[in-house]
Symmetry: C5
Subunit: 126 residues, 5 copies
């Protein structure tokens, strides 16, 4: 009857570009088992994918990417839904989805970006 | 004459996806006594719902969800009103309301989301 | 010639819902002497209004409210002016003004909220 | 060939309303030598303008003002340009410019605020 | 098979105006090898460009600039793309691109700023 159904070592903290995110290995692995995040934390692989130099003083895994656009990616892995605030640029989320290999969300983001970008394409050239 | 009317062990800190929230057990329990949060912190149940692995180094309870959308949920439990900023996506709040089982706010959010979503449904298909 | 004109014990840190705010007792008391904040920190009263359980490990006073909407309330006490960013929902500020008893700002916020709310009242019923 | 051209004791950390800002004394002094910030950190004056009670446990100088609106003020001192995001209320920046005595930016902000405020002045009276 | 392909001493933390950013030296150097950031962290130069006074108590390199507008600059160095949220003012990013000497992104930002600024130029003079 454990609310979060985690085993003892399941929680991980990621230091993404200087901001901390806490999640569970199962969240990072289950939804997209072939993604970079899944491969980073899968049982048999985790031990050699990270060298000690990639873990900071707070035992967080260092990832050199944008924290702003990682947040909706992580929420997508948690809930299975792509949800982001109106001020967030979907091009940034798409860039991270491609980097981390979250394949199922890439076509959704590509369509949103195409529609979203149209106005800027119409800017006058100087 | 204690301003906040808390008993000694009433304050709890939640680590929601890497961000800390401080609240009182009475806030988490009173408004929605059947929700997951209420059951997590109810006197008779708290002891076995969380295993030690779900508590971080700062003694905060770990919850693997979005901090952005948890914030208006917690404010709803505090004040009884659903209030959020204009840039926040109500679909994210609805997702959390469903996850945590905050039943009284779900129909309110469902109606807001339905109205809010209409424009995106009209995006051209490519 | 002390720039901030504070006596030694005048600074206080508030932990509002998990976020820290630093201010001076004189700011919390002067502008609205009958408010809850003023009564919390007034010389003769402070000692019994807070029990030790309401102070966290960093010696901050715990307040179980929204940090987002507390910020413009605190700025109002500092500068005497109600100023908030365009994405911030004035209903949230009004809720906090009522909770903390900042009487002079309540009618200002009530009028803003009434004007601000009109569009949502016109949402189609489903 | 020091990139930032600071002398050893030039860096200061300010705790503005609970948020930390790191800058250099030369930034705080050079652009507006008569401002309150300049006078706070000028060589001959700093020693008596701050009493030990105005420095927090992290050796940051305590300032009882809004961190949100201090940020563009500090950036103005750094770069000589007034730049702020579209959601930030210029009235808040003006209030801080007046408080800190950043004279050169006050007329710029006054004109922006006047234009920006017009719509609210036209709100119906109730 | 190291996911992030960093050598042991490759990670650096920057304290930009009070906010921490974590990245790798290779990110800071590769995309714009003549920029100030690249020169700050290049092997042969790093040793004398920073004096010990420019490193804070958390071993972060102190940079006296705006954290808000540094973020899209760092993301540009990471991904090669200029992406920022709709509320962020591109004039602020341009200012940082010039300061840090990120030459390839300056003309892109200059065109965006020119189009973006037009409405303000049309403000009535008072």
């Amino acid at each position: 009857a454990n609310v979060s159904s985690k085993t003892n070592s399941d929680w991980v903290t990621l230091n993404v570009g200087g901001k901390y995110f806490t999640s569970s290995k199962s969240t990072l692995i289950k939804k997209e088992p072939c993604s970079m995040l899944a491969r980073m934390f899968a049982e048999n692989h985790g031990s050699y994918l990270f060298t000690p130099s990639d873990i900071d003083a707070n035992k967080a895994y260092l990832i050199d990417r944008s924290p702003t656009y990682f947040e909706p990616i992580l929420n997508y892995l948690r809930s299975g839904q792509l949800i982001y605030d109106s001020n967030v640029n979907p091009e940034g989320i798409l860039e991270e989805a491609r980097f981390f290999g979250i394949e199922s969300v890439i076509p959704i983001l590509e369509q949103i970006v195409q529609v979203h970008k149209t106005p800027r394409d119409e800017l006058p050239l100087t």
